[in-house]
Amino acid sequence: MHGRQKVEQTIEEKQKKDKERGKKLVAYQHAMKLIFTKRSKNELDKELLQISAQMLTSNPDIGTLWNLRKETLLVMRKNLDLDFAELVRKDLELTEVCLRSNPKSYGAWHHRCWLMYETNFDSIVNELKLVSKYLKYDDRNFHCWDYRRYLLDNSESMSLKEELEFTTEKIVSNFSNYSSWHLRSTILPKVSDNFLREELELIKNAAYTDPNDQSVWFYYRWLLKSQLLKETPKLLFAQEGELKGSSALLCVFNVPVENPSGLAHNDNKGVLNLSAYSAQPECWSNPWNNSRSKLWAMDLSDQSALIDVAEVVTSCHKFPKYFDSETQPKQPELEALLRNELIWVSELNELEPDNKWILATVILLMRLIDFQGYKLEINNNLSKLLELDLNRTNYYLDLRSKYIMEWKLVDFPIGAEEIDLSNLGLTSAYYLERLCYIKGVNLSGNQLNESVSLSALLLCERLILQK
């Protein structure tokens, strides 16, 4: 249970407990020995079920015994003299007894999942009742929530609408609950197309009631981001360059991709398919030899004849003015909605100026609405977060480094040979793939983390790094 103080036990209590433990250990060892003997003799019978049931009742976390039961039940199932359904019912009872003493027993919950699976999720109504009961005792027992989601994923008879109502009920009684928000997030898109406004209202009320509760803010972030366009991999930029003495085509993609050959680039002129130029994987490489990368180089030495490099380069000669789905321009309706959201979050921020969750959300909203226009405000809010939340200093510095790079690169002229990134307070270097063709890079006066990789600067000749 949450929010309860642990009581220290006295030496006497501890001694008493140790003594009991010793007794239990002897009994445990004896029974385990018996069970293993039976198993080695292949005696997967009722007696084994009985002994293991006793053992599990006192300690539901002996995974081996649960597995043995599964094994035994499967054997017994083939014996038509035995009532399998009855055996399952008994095992369900056993897990319930176990859960009574330990509502968070992995073994017991998992066994229940298996029993459900083996019986085609027949007794789902009872199961839901059981889960609801346990969630009443502890509304944050994630085992219960996991089990509920498992049932929902597998049973066809469950009503999504009722499940949604169940999460509403749980949230109304205590909204500080990641699990119920999460279940909600998985159900909502399936039940309704038009849940956004109601959800936003719910979140707003929760946030005003208790802005320190992080589960609401996480849900809010999920909800907002779920409205953004999905990023499909595509080629953003291509340029020819000299790499290790031979000619290469440098390709930059919007997201890390695995197999660059198969990707198409969509632009005004139509579809450009790189695979037309090279289907051979071995001619592609990236500086880190990673399986996925935003930056790939195609060796042109063998196949230059086959490729109309000029065409690729002209059609992909500059980067878009955004970096990801967050910074991508929004549909007018979505932008209007986000601007409305920013109003109330900002108001709450005025009431609670020192709340990090609100500040982080203000930053997110501003970034979603107009990441360039809100440059000053985002910077100020990040500085405030750095002052408020010392435990996450490096996270905020990293975030700021990313944003600074975005602001620098968004207007960077593509023809330039050099870029000055000095004294920006960078701790990491984002989007270096966009600088893969640059000859001179000045990163001096920053606090770059030692792990920062500069390998993306493929054509760099002059690099200044001094602190």
């Binding site: 009684s173 909204f175 009320n205 005003y208 009631t209 208790d210």
Partner: protein, 584 residues
């Protein structure tokens, strides 16, 4: 009748809450106790009555057993000094008026038959789940004789000009999250305010000394939120005080932080959504439970019995002698219920006590049918749980409290509801009935008698009452009266070291418990006040012994006067589903 022992350590007259606790505490310590009550029911003004007893109005008159003479004099107190005082009975319940609003004879007949299904409190009391009284009940193990249920809703009328709107008072995190009564900004302010109050006691910050007025200003609470908090936390005693004081120095303001913390911490202790618990079968159960404890430890109980004379004896100055039905009994201490008072003979001036302080409550008990005062369940939810939306609710309309009881309270039978109305009485007010009828008329429908209705030519209902009567509960029957809570502060030299009067000027249960503790400690300065109950084994033993000699109805009564004796309504405990045991 069997003969009583000729002496006791303590004689207690009256079975009100204070007297019963003193009796139990004394018996628990091994002192011999004779506990009598001139009434034929337990509880004094804390009694709970059946319908027939209720409408008979017996509680508004001195007990029939008393042989009252002029000025309700029942006897004399002869002091060592030679002075003689009259002992008088002053009934705290007065100005009773009752009225059938309904002319439906079927209803009248039905309630008569269902009389025992009514457990009507003269002074209804809800307990806060963490108040000291509860601690005392648990500690003394008296709680095992009691059952409680939760008050599910606490509602309030809104501040003017919306005073006819009733809304739930949001005071828990989930209430504030879901409420539509207050704005988002108000939600934030209210949460901050409540968190502040809860925290302020933890490290004894000086802020806990702030008055409510200060705190409200500091947190920039809106008028509505201020009103809601005030409605929630104030007590009836506060209402009496607040009316006069505008400077924020009244009890409500001064003790706000402490009381509000208790209020908040009481929420959800026993699964209760409000801080309040309702005593099943009525508040008299609490008195009776202490009497039962007293009886288990040897206390002797006689109802319909009073004292006629008290006298001090030169030969035995440590002893008080009393006469009851002609029998003389000696006692070391005499404890008297608030209704018994002394009046010096001869001196005209002191016919009334020297100085009186206290409050008078206006009380109304309305038997109603129809909808609740406020049905706040969403229409969908209501349809789903139709029939099982049984709820007990408290309404705060300014300085007026209304407790809405349904059958789950066991105070009223199925298909009826009871409104227990309480507000402070101020001198010069109209009659209790006039006060309550006018204060409640916008919330309930005081049904017009059929014949009056007929007299006019076909007037549609809506013309008589602009608000559709179907939306409001209909009053079938109403009882109205006043209850005094007066403490006559006597001169210092009149304070007796052996005779204690259980007067209190407070309507709060906790003050009556405190009074009991105080009197007990004056009798037995070194005695432990209702110590922890004995160990379970011993306990069972006690139970067994107790059960043997006990009459069917579970009363710890020894010589009960038989015949026509309406026992106080107290079905055996444990038969009903256990609603809320106090378990630590």
């Amino acid at each position: 009748m069997e003969t009583l022992p000729s002496s006791f350590d303590v004689i207690v007259v009256g079975t009100g809450i204070t007297e019963s606790i003193i009796s139990a505490a004394a018996a628990r310590q091994g002192h011999t106790v004779l506990h009598i009550d001139p009434r034929d029911y337990y509880g004094g003004k804390w009694a709970t009555l059946s319908w027939n007893d209720w409408v008979s109005g017996i509680f508004a008159h001195p007990p029939a057993t008393l042989n009252t003479r002029e000025f309700n004099t029942i006897g004399t107190f002869k002091k060592l000094s030679g002075d003689v005082e009259n002992i008088i009975w002053k009934n705290d319940v007065r100005d009773l008026e009752s009225n059938w609003y309904s002319s439906d004879t079927a209803v009248m007949a039905e309630v008569k038959i269902l009389t025992r299904r009514f457990n009507i409190d003269i002074i209804p009391k809800v307990l806060m789940a963490r108040e000291e009284v509860i601690q005392l009940l648990i500690q003394s193990n008296v709680s095992r004789y009691l059952e409680f249920t939760c008050i599910n809703k606490l509602m309030s009328s809104l501040p003017p000009p919306e005073e006819s709107t009733i809304e739930p008072i949001p005071l828990s995190r989930s209430d504030i999250f879901t409420t539509r009564t207050i704005s988002l900004i108000e939600k934030r302010k209210l949460m901050k305010f409540l968190e502040f109050v809860l925290k302020s006691g933890d490290d004894s910050e000086p802020s806990s000394k702030s008055t409510f007025a200060d705190l409200a200003q500091m947190h920039k609470l809106t008028n509505k939120v201020t009103h809601l908090i005030q409605s929630a936390v104030r007590t009836m005693d506060d209402c009496m005080q607040m009316s006069g004081d505008a400077d924020g120095q009244d009890n409500f303001n001064i003790k706000f932080t402490e009381n509000c913390r208790l209020f908040l911490q009481s929420i959800n202790r026993y699964g209760n959504q409000t801080p309040f618990l309702w005593t099943l079968y009525g508040v008299s159960e609490i008195c009776q439970s202490f009497c039962r404890l007293s009886a288990i430890y040897g206390g002797t109980y006689i109802l319909k019995r009073s004292i006629e004379t008290i006298y001090e004896d030169e030969e035995e100055p440590d002893i008080i002698k009393i006469q009851t039905e002609g029998v003389e009994i000696k006692t070391k201490y005499l404890v008297l219920c608030p209704e018994l008072k002394f009046l010096s003979i001869g001196t005209e001036r002191s016919k009334s006590p020297k100085c009186i302080q206290g409050i008078t409550l206006v009380r109304g008990v309305l038997l109603v049918t129809g909808p609740r005062l406020k049905d706040d369940t969403a229409p969908e939810a209501a349809a789903e749980e139709a029939g099982q939306s049984k709820k007990l609710a408290i309404y705060r309309f300014g300085d007026m409290d209304v407790i809405e009881l349904d059958e789950t309270s066991l105070a009223v039978p199925k298909n009826y509801r009871m409104l227990q109305v309480t507000l402070p009485y101020r001198e010069g007010n109209p009659t209790p009935r006039e006060i309550i009828e006018s204060r409640l008329q916008s919330y309930v429908n005081f049904q017009v008698r059929k014949e009056e209705n007929m007299s006019g030519a076909e007037i549609p209902d809506s013309a008589i009452n602009p608000i559709t009567p179907e939306d409001k509960p209909t009053v079938l029957h109403g009882t109205y009266f006043l209850v005094d809570f007066y403490d006559d502060i006597r001169d210092q030299d009149m304070e007796h070291s052996k005779i204690f009067q259980c007067n209190s000027s407070s309507t709060e249960l906790k003050d009556h418990v405190e009074k009991a503790r105080e009197i007990f400690s004056r009798m037995y300065p070194d005695g432990e006040f209702l110590p922890k109950a004995p160990a379970p084994e011993e306990d069972i033993d006690m139970e067994d012994r107790d059960d043997e000699g006990e009459p069917e109805d579970g009363q710890p009564i020894i010589p009960m006067e038989e015949e026509g004796n309406q026992n106080p309504p107290s079905p055996p405990l444990g038969n009903e589903p256990h609603q809320n045991g106090f378990v630590e």
